[in-house]
Amino acid sequence: MGVITEKLPIYIEPMPGGSMVLTSMDFMINWAHANSLWPLTFGTSCCAIEVMMAAGASNHDLARFGAEVARATPRQADLLVVAGTIVKRMAPILKTLYAQMGEPRYVIATGSCAISGGPFVFNSYTTIRGVDQLIPVDVYVPGCPPRPEAFFYGLLTLQRMIKEGETVRKPGIRRKPVMAALPEGITIADIQAELAALLDRNATVNVPQQCKERDLDEP
Protein backbone atom coordinates (compact mmCIF):
# COMPACT_ATOMS: atom_id res chain seq x y z
CA MET A 1 0.00 0.00 0.00
CA GLY A 2 1.78 3.23 -1.07
CA VAL A 3 2.37 5.64 1.79
CA ILE A 4 0.37 8.82 1.30
CA THR A 5 3.15 11.35 0.86
CA GLU A 6 2.04 14.89 1.47
CA LYS A 7 4.10 18.01 1.58
CA LEU A 8 4.29 18.52 5.36
CA PRO A 9 4.68 22.29 6.02
CA ILE A 10 6.98 21.84 8.93
CA TYR A 11 10.32 23.43 9.84
CA ILE A 12 12.89 21.42 11.81
CA GLU A 13 14.80 23.51 14.38
CA PRO A 14 18.07 21.85 15.45
CA MET A 15 18.29 21.93 19.26
CA PRO A 16 21.13 20.79 21.57
CA GLY A 17 19.17 17.77 22.78
CA GLY A 18 17.86 16.78 19.27
CA SER A 19 15.63 18.74 16.92
CA MET A 20 12.23 20.26 17.46
CA VAL A 21 9.50 20.34 14.86
CA LEU A 22 7.87 23.72 14.42
CA THR A 23 4.65 23.93 12.48
CA SER A 24 1.55 26.02 12.38
CA MET A 25 -1.16 25.18 14.90
CA ASP A 26 -3.82 24.94 12.21
CA PHE A 27 -1.91 22.29 10.35
CA MET A 28 -1.38 20.23 13.48
CA ILE A 29 -5.05 20.39 14.47
CA ASN A 30 -6.31 19.65 10.96
CA TRP A 31 -3.83 16.82 10.58
CA ALA A 32 -5.12 15.31 13.85
CA HIS A 33 -8.78 15.80 12.85
CA ALA A 34 -8.36 14.40 9.39
CA ASN A 35 -6.57 11.23 10.34
CA SER A 36 -8.85 10.26 13.20
CA LEU A 37 -12.42 10.82 12.03
CA TRP A 38 -14.74 8.86 14.31
CA PRO A 39 -17.95 7.96 12.42
CA LEU A 40 -21.33 7.84 14.17
CA THR A 41 -23.11 4.45 13.78
CA PHE A 42 -25.98 5.86 11.74
CA GLY A 43 -27.18 3.43 9.07
CA THR A 44 -30.83 3.46 8.12
CA SER A 45 -31.01 0.94 5.26
CA CYS A 46 -29.00 -0.92 2.62
CA CYS A 47 -26.02 1.48 2.55
CA ALA A 48 -25.46 0.68 6.24
CA ILE A 49 -24.42 -2.88 5.31
CA GLU A 50 -22.13 -1.87 2.49
CA VAL A 51 -20.67 1.44 3.56
CA MET A 52 -20.58 1.11 7.32
CA MET A 53 -20.14 -2.60 7.95
CA ALA A 54 -18.40 -4.07 4.91
CA ALA A 55 -16.06 -1.08 4.73
CA GLY A 56 -15.28 -1.34 8.43
CA ALA A 57 -14.77 -5.11 8.42
CA SER A 58 -11.65 -7.09 7.77
CA ASN A 59 -11.66 -7.20 3.97
CA HIS A 60 -11.95 -3.49 3.14
CA ASP A 61 -10.32 -2.15 6.25
CA LEU A 62 -11.49 1.32 7.26
CA ALA A 63 -8.76 1.33 9.92
CA ARG A 64 -6.21 2.14 7.21
CA PHE A 65 -7.67 5.65 7.16
CA GLY A 66 -8.15 6.00 10.90
CA ALA A 67 -11.93 5.95 10.80
CA GLU A 68 -12.73 2.50 12.11
CA VAL A 69 -13.77 3.60 15.62
CA ALA A 70 -17.56 3.75 15.13
CA ARG A 71 -19.06 5.60 18.11
CA ALA A 72 -22.68 5.07 19.05
CA THR A 73 -23.33 8.50 20.60
CA PRO A 74 -23.06 11.78 18.70
CA ARG A 75 -21.16 13.25 21.63
CA GLN A 76 -18.04 11.27 20.79
CA ALA A 77 -18.39 11.23 16.98
CA ASP A 78 -17.20 13.89 14.56
CA LEU A 79 -18.18 12.26 11.26
CA LEU A 80 -21.85 11.63 10.43
CA VAL A 81 -22.10 9.15 7.56
CA VAL A 82 -25.70 9.29 6.30
CA ALA A 83 -26.01 5.72 4.99
CA GLY A 84 -29.52 5.06 3.73
CA THR A 85 -32.88 6.63 3.01
CA ILE A 86 -34.09 9.48 5.20
CA VAL A 87 -37.87 9.65 5.47
CA LYS A 88 -40.05 12.41 6.84
CA ARG A 89 -40.29 10.80 10.26
CA MET A 90 -36.50 10.42 10.51
CA ALA A 91 -35.75 14.04 9.49
CA PRO A 92 -36.12 15.73 12.93
CA ILE A 93 -34.06 12.93 14.47
CA LEU A 94 -31.26 13.42 11.96
CA LYS A 95 -31.26 17.15 12.71
CA THR A 96 -31.15 16.49 16.47
CA LEU A 97 -28.26 14.06 16.06
CA TYR A 98 -26.36 16.52 13.89
CA ALA A 99 -26.93 19.29 16.43
CA GLN A 100 -25.74 17.11 19.29
CA MET A 101 -22.40 16.35 17.69
CA GLY A 102 -19.24 18.16 18.79
CA GLU A 103 -18.22 21.20 16.78
CA PRO A 104 -15.71 20.13 14.19
CA ARG A 105 -18.31 17.83 12.62
CA TYR A 106 -18.37 16.54 9.06
CA VAL A 107 -21.11 14.85 7.01
CA ILE A 108 -20.68 12.32 4.21
CA ALA A 109 -23.91 11.51 2.31
CA THR A 110 -23.46 8.03 0.86
CA GLY A 111 -25.80 6.40 -1.59
CA SER A 112 -28.24 7.95 -4.04
CA CYS A 113 -31.02 7.89 -1.39
CA ALA A 114 -29.08 10.32 0.81
CA ILE A 115 -27.99 12.44 -2.16
CA SER A 116 -31.27 12.80 -4.06
CA GLY A 117 -33.86 10.34 -2.78
CA GLY A 118 -32.55 7.53 -4.98
CA PRO A 119 -35.06 4.97 -6.30
CA PHE A 120 -37.79 6.54 -4.12
CA VAL A 121 -37.94 9.98 -5.74
CA PHE A 122 -41.26 9.38 -7.48
CA ASN A 123 -44.49 8.20 -5.87
CA SER A 124 -43.11 8.10 -2.34
CA TYR A 125 -45.03 10.19 0.15
CA THR A 126 -42.34 10.08 2.82
CA THR A 127 -38.83 9.98 1.29
CA ILE A 128 -36.81 13.19 1.72
CA ARG A 129 -35.23 13.93 -1.65
CA GLY A 130 -31.67 14.58 -0.59
CA VAL A 131 -30.16 15.00 2.89
CA ASP A 132 -28.71 18.41 2.11
CA GLN A 133 -32.20 19.81 2.61
CA LEU A 134 -31.75 18.92 6.29
CA ILE A 135 -28.08 19.24 7.22
CA PRO A 136 -24.97 20.72 5.52
CA VAL A 137 -23.18 17.95 3.62
CA ASP A 138 -19.44 17.94 2.93
CA VAL A 139 -18.91 14.99 0.60
CA TYR A 140 -21.36 13.05 -1.59
CA VAL A 141 -20.56 9.41 -2.43
CA PRO A 142 -22.87 8.26 -5.26
CA GLY A 143 -23.89 4.64 -5.79
CA CYS A 144 -26.69 2.35 -4.78
CA PRO A 145 -25.01 1.15 -2.59
CA PRO A 146 -21.58 2.65 -3.31
CA ARG A 147 -18.71 0.17 -3.18
CA PRO A 148 -16.52 0.35 -0.06
CA GLU A 149 -13.71 1.66 -2.29
CA ALA A 150 -15.95 4.53 -3.42
CA PHE A 151 -16.63 5.34 0.22
CA PHE A 152 -12.87 5.36 0.89
CA TYR A 153 -12.35 7.83 -1.95
CA GLY A 154 -15.06 10.03 -0.40
CA LEU A 155 -13.32 9.75 2.97
CA LEU A 156 -9.94 10.68 1.48
CA THR A 157 -11.53 13.66 -0.27
CA LEU A 158 -12.95 14.76 3.09
CA GLN A 159 -9.53 14.35 4.71
CA ARG A 160 -7.91 16.49 1.99
CA MET A 161 -10.70 19.01 2.46
CA ILE A 162 -10.01 19.26 6.20
CA LYS A 163 -6.24 19.51 5.78
CA GLU A 164 -6.46 22.18 3.11
CA GLY A 165 -8.86 24.75 4.23
CA GLU A 166 -10.02 24.83 7.78
CA THR A 167 -8.56 27.24 10.32
CA VAL A 168 -9.22 27.42 14.05
CA ARG A 169 -10.40 31.03 13.92
CA LYS A 170 -13.13 30.24 11.36
CA PRO A 171 -14.32 26.72 12.22
CA GLY A 172 -16.73 25.07 9.84
CA ILE A 173 -15.60 26.93 6.74
CA ARG A 174 -13.86 24.56 4.37
CA ARG A 175 -12.84 24.75 0.73
CA LYS A 176 -14.31 21.98 -1.34
CA PRO A 177 -11.40 20.34 -3.14
CA VAL A 178 -13.48 19.57 -6.21
CA MET A 179 -11.27 21.98 -8.06
CA ALA A 180 -8.23 20.31 -6.52
CA ALA A 181 -9.35 17.02 -8.02
CA LEU A 182 -8.86 18.41 -11.53
CA PRO A 183 -5.57 17.39 -13.13
CA GLU A 184 -3.11 20.24 -13.67
CA GLY A 185 -3.65 22.43 -16.70
CA ILE A 186 -7.39 21.66 -17.02
CA THR A 187 -9.82 24.39 -16.02
CA ILE A 188 -13.59 24.47 -15.71
CA ALA A 189 -13.79 26.56 -18.85
CA ASP A 190 -12.18 23.77 -20.87
CA ILE A 191 -14.69 21.25 -19.56
CA GLN A 192 -17.64 23.51 -20.32
CA ALA A 193 -16.35 24.17 -23.80
CA GLU A 194 -15.84 20.51 -24.48
CA LEU A 195 -19.30 19.67 -23.17
CA ALA A 196 -20.94 22.34 -25.30
CA ALA A 197 -19.11 21.04 -28.37
CA LEU A 198 -20.04 17.48 -27.53
CA LEU A 199 -23.70 18.30 -27.07
CA ASP A 200 -24.39 19.82 -30.46
CA ARG A 201 -22.01 17.57 -32.44
CA ASN A 202 -23.39 14.38 -31.04
CA ALA A 203 -27.02 15.36 -31.07
CA THR A 204 -27.64 12.62 -33.70
CA VAL A 205 -25.78 9.33 -34.28
CA ASN A 206 -24.84 9.04 -37.93
CA VAL A 207 -23.27 5.58 -38.25
CA PRO A 208 -22.58 5.57 -42.03
CA GLN A 209 -20.88 8.97 -41.82
CA GLN A 210 -18.79 7.87 -38.84
CA CYS A 211 -17.85 4.64 -40.62
CA LYS A 212 -16.70 6.66 -43.65
CA GLU A 213 -14.71 8.93 -41.31
CA ARG A 214 -12.98 5.93 -39.80
CA ASP A 215 -12.91 4.34 -43.34
CA LEU A 216 -14.53 1.17 -42.09
CA ASP A 217 -16.20 -0.73 -44.91
CA GLU A 218 -19.98 -0.81 -44.77
CA PRO A 219 -21.31 -3.81 -42.70
Binding site: M25, Q100, P171
Partner: protein
Protein backbone atom coordinates in the same frame (compact mmCIF):
# COMPACT_ATOMS: atom_id res chain seq x y z
CA UNK B 1 15.94 15.50 51.96
CA UNK B 2 15.28 18.25 49.46
CA UNK B 3 11.68 18.54 48.61
CA UNK B 4 12.38 20.36 45.37
CA UNK B 5 11.80 17.18 43.35
CA UNK B 6 8.37 16.68 44.93
CA UNK B 7 7.47 20.30 44.12
CA UNK B 8 8.65 19.82 40.53
CA UNK B 9 6.61 16.62 40.29
CA UNK B 10 3.44 18.39 41.53
CA UNK B 11 4.09 21.31 39.16
CA UNK B 12 4.52 19.01 36.16
CA UNK B 13 1.36 17.02 36.85
CA UNK B 14 -0.58 20.26 37.38
CA UNK B 15 0.76 21.68 34.14
CA UNK B 16 0.00 18.47 32.29
CA UNK B 17 -3.60 18.29 33.55
CA UNK B 18 -4.59 21.94 33.40
CA UNK B 19 -2.52 22.57 30.27
CA UNK B 20 -4.65 20.11 28.35
CA UNK B 21 -7.86 21.63 29.66
CA UNK B 22 -6.83 25.21 28.95
CA UNK B 23 -5.54 24.39 25.47
CA UNK B 24 -8.78 22.70 24.52
CA UNK B 25 -10.74 25.59 26.06
CA UNK B 26 -8.84 28.09 23.93
CA UNK B 27 -8.69 26.19 20.67
CA UNK B 28 -11.88 24.13 20.53
CA UNK B 29 -14.90 25.98 19.12
CA UNK B 30 -17.72 26.62 21.62
CA UNK B 31 -21.24 26.67 20.21
CA UNK B 32 -23.63 25.53 22.97
CA UNK B 33 -27.18 25.27 21.68
CA UNK B 34 -30.54 24.37 23.14
CA UNK B 35 -30.67 21.06 21.24
CA UNK B 36 -26.99 20.35 21.82
CA UNK B 37 -27.36 20.69 25.58
CA UNK B 38 -30.51 18.57 25.78
CA UNK B 39 -29.77 15.00 26.91
CA UNK B 40 -29.07 12.55 24.06
CA UNK B 41 -31.78 9.87 23.81
CA UNK B 42 -31.13 8.09 20.50
CA UNK B 43 -32.19 11.19 18.58
CA UNK B 44 -35.61 11.45 20.17
CA UNK B 45 -36.87 14.19 22.48
CA UNK B 46 -35.94 12.98 26.00
CA UNK B 47 -38.83 11.30 27.81
CA UNK B 48 -39.47 11.82 31.49
CA UNK B 49 -36.77 13.00 33.89
CA UNK B 50 -33.67 11.19 35.03
CA UNK B 51 -34.36 12.07 38.67
CA UNK B 52 -36.14 8.88 39.53
CA UNK B 53 -35.86 6.60 42.56
CA UNK B 54 -33.97 3.54 41.46
CA UNK B 55 -32.77 0.42 43.14
CA UNK B 56 -30.66 0.93 46.28
CA UNK B 57 -28.50 -2.03 45.21
CA UNK B 58 -26.57 0.16 42.77
CA UNK B 59 -25.43 2.46 45.58
CA UNK B 60 -24.33 -0.40 47.83
CA UNK B 61 -22.45 -2.07 45.00
CA UNK B 62 -20.60 1.19 44.32
CA UNK B 63 -19.66 1.49 47.99
CA UNK B 64 -18.25 -2.05 48.08
CA UNK B 65 -16.23 -1.42 44.97
CA UNK B 66 -14.84 1.78 46.48
CA UNK B 67 -13.71 -0.06 49.60
CA UNK B 68 -11.82 -2.72 47.70
CA UNK B 69 -10.37 -0.22 45.23
CA UNK B 70 -8.86 1.78 48.09
CA UNK B 71 -7.59 -1.45 49.63
CA UNK B 72 -5.74 -2.28 46.39
CA UNK B 73 -4.33 1.25 46.37
CA UNK B 74 -2.93 0.73 49.87
CA UNK B 75 -1.38 -2.60 48.99
CA UNK B 76 0.76 -1.15 46.19
CA UNK B 77 3.21 0.82 48.38
CA UNK B 78 3.22 -2.12 50.82
CA UNK B 79 4.28 -4.48 48.01
CA UNK B 80 7.13 -2.14 47.04
CA UNK B 81 8.73 -2.13 50.47
CA UNK B 82 7.95 -5.74 51.36
CA UNK B 83 11.61 -6.76 51.61
CA UNK B 84 12.48 -4.08 54.17
CA UNK B 85 9.47 -4.60 56.45
CA UNK B 86 9.92 -8.38 56.42
CA UNK B 87 7.52 -10.73 58.22
CA UNK B 88 6.09 -8.04 60.56
CA UNK B 89 4.92 -6.07 57.51
CA UNK B 90 3.40 -9.23 56.09
CA UNK B 91 1.44 -9.87 59.27
CA UNK B 92 0.11 -6.29 59.32
CA UNK B 93 -1.04 -6.49 55.71
CA UNK B 94 -2.66 -9.85 56.52
CA UNK B 95 -4.67 -8.24 59.33
CA UNK B 96 -5.59 -5.34 57.05
CA UNK B 97 -6.90 -7.72 54.38
CA UNK B 98 -8.68 -9.86 56.96
CA UNK B 99 -10.66 -6.88 58.26
CA UNK B 100 -11.82 -5.98 54.77
CA UNK B 101 -12.65 -9.59 54.03
CA UNK B 102 -14.94 -9.70 57.05
CA UNK B 103 -16.66 -6.59 55.69
CA UNK B 104 -17.25 -8.46 52.42
CA UNK B 105 -18.66 -11.50 54.23
CA UNK B 106 -20.96 -9.26 56.26
CA UNK B 107 -22.24 -7.54 53.10
CA UNK B 108 -22.66 -10.88 51.39
CA UNK B 109 -24.69 -12.28 54.22
CA UNK B 110 -26.87 -9.18 54.28
CA UNK B 111 -27.77 -9.89 50.65
CA UNK B 112 -26.19 -6.81 49.09
CA UNK B 113 -24.77 -8.86 46.28
CA UNK B 114 -28.11 -10.43 45.34
CA UNK B 115 -29.32 -8.56 42.28
CA UNK B 116 -33.08 -8.10 42.25
Amino acid sequence: MNYFLVLLFIGLTGAFVFGGLIASFLIAPHKPGKVKNSPYECGEKPMGSAWVQFNVGYYLFALLFLVFDVEAAFLYPWAVVLREVGVAGLMEAGVFILILLSALVYAWRKGVLEWV
